[in-house]
């Protein structure tokens, strides 16, 4: 929780860095990198202890700081070679970024002032039409009516078998028997809907038997299964009806 508060204060690594620099009244173009890096890391450790997830952006800056620190510490070996193209202060880029960020903060501050000023103006519509217009867009359920709910409930009611549970038939129908029945039905009708064959079945074992019977028929190429569209009705028919060659 404490970390959340810090997040509010510091909008990011640049913000934190700027804070550290301004607190100690440091010249932005002459940042004592070692000192600032230490302070920055100190902060980072506190943050990490509190929340590991959101420190990614801060870690990148820590790496940059340490890189700059390392560059400054290393003795300039090739002074003669680099005489022409004078080595740029590794802190320069960071200083540029900080200055740019400082301007952003200034800009944000003046925008905030404008925001505050404007918030005192109430427009005529803010109380009436505007609210009505905005509200339905905010929830994604704008088109749902009571009838949609009723429809949904009906589907649920239908899925629950309203008929009272009867005595479990003692003699279960065998898969083979079911296969014959289904095949007869298809032969008679030409093609049938997949769900039709489950119509009179009310027990779990009966449903499974039925399904296995269909699978077996498909495996034996005695029946083919078709679907006209995604999630559409599944149709069963005899192979001859589709493939005349067979």
């Amino acid at each position: 929780m404490e970390y959340q508060i810090q997040l509010d204060i510091f909008q990011g690594p640049l913000d934190l860095l700027l804070h550290l620099i301004e607190k100690d009244e440091i010249d932005i173009y002459n940042i004592p990198i070692a000192l600032i890096t230490d302070k920055y890391l100190e902060y980072l450790h506190t943050m990490q202890a509190l929340n590991l997830e959101m420190v990614g952006d801060f870690l990148v800056m820590a790496a940059t700081l340490m890189q700059i620190k390392a560059k400054l510490l290393l003795p300039q070996l090739a002074t003669e070679d680099a005489a022409g193209t004078e080595e740029e202060d590794p802190r320069f880029e960071l200083a540029q970024k900080l200055i740019e960020y400082k301007k952003i903060k200034e800009a944000a501050l003046s925008l905030q002032a404008l925001e505050g000023r404007q918030a005192k103006f109430y427009t005529r519509i803010s109380g009436d039409f505007a609210d009505q217009k905005v509200a339905p867009e905010q929830d994604g359920l704008k088109d749902l009516s009571i009838w949609d709910l009723l429809e949904a409930f009906k589907v649920i009611m239908e899925s629950i078998d309203p008929k009272p549970i009867e005595a479990v038939p003692k003699q279960a129908v065998s898969i083979k028997q079911r296969m014959t029945e289904i095949l007869d039905l298809i032969t008679a009708e030409g093609r049938i809907f997949f769900k039709i064959i489950f119509n009179d079945v009310r027990t779990k074992i009966g449903l499974i038997t039925c399904f296995l019977a269909v699978l077996e028929l498909v495996r034996l190429h005695k029946v083919i299964v078709l679907q006209d569209a995604l999630f559409g009705e599944i149709t069963l028919s005899l192979p001859e009806k589709v493939c005349n060659n067979v």
């Binding site: 404008l114 103006f121 109430y122």
Partner: protein, 190 residues
């Protein structure tokens, strides 16, 4: 149609419009010059301030709009059940400031300036219709460019981007952004 009547009509038009209405629209409706409309509006605005009316007319987003007097705000607030917009978060306003002054700008460019990921604050701004997409940058990956909206001007009570608070050193870039083409052309000729 006498002047008093025209004045009344203009007042009525500003009042009845749910969005800031511009002087051109009013001049078309009434059938008088835009210049006259503007003159009458200036007079109306001053009149309301002078008589300390509870309703003011302000010029915003290149149009005119009725608003309540700022000093009445605490009372109006009591009438409206919930306190209105809580204001943008610090993160959102920083992102918005970058878009406002540097537009059109890509997400990556904003992130580089702020030094943090701006995914959520940019989404908030787009959702609030303060920032919108402005095509794609001609760069690898063709990243989406963002700019501020008319709603942005309304939200901050600005007439145009030129009214943005001036930030030292940014003034140049903001101006070149708006008149860039003309300036470049002039420079080349000279």
């Amino acid at each position: 149609m006498n002047l008093i009547m025209v004045r009344a009509i203009i007042e009525a038009l500003v009042f009845s419009s749910s969005e800031p209405i511009n002087s051109k629209t009013m001049s078309d409706i009434i059938g008088i010059s835009e210049h006259t409309v503007k003159q009458i509006l200036t007079d109306l605005i001053e009149d309301r301030i002078r008589t300390q009316s509870g309703l003011h007319i302000i010029e915003v987003a290149n149009g005119y709009q009725f608003v309540t007097h700022p000093e009445c705000a605490p009372y109006v607030e009591k009438l409206q059940k919930a306190p209105r917009n809580v204001g943008l978060s610090q993160a959102a306003i920083e992102t918005l400031a970058i878009v406002a002054y540097k537009q059109p700008i890509t997400k990556a460019e904003i992130e580089s300036l702020r030094g943090v990921s701006i995914e959520s604050s940019l989404n908030t701004l787009v959702e609030k219709n303060l920032v919108e997409e402005a095509g794609r940058k001609d760069a690898p990956g063709r990243p989406i460019l963002y700019r501020t909206t008319r709603q942005f001007l309304k939200y901050f009570g600005l007439n145009g981007l030129s009214e943005l608070p001036q930030i030292p050193e940014w003034v140049d870039s903001a101006e070149s952004l708006k008149f860039g083409v003309e300036h470049d052309g002039g420079g080349q000729n000279a």
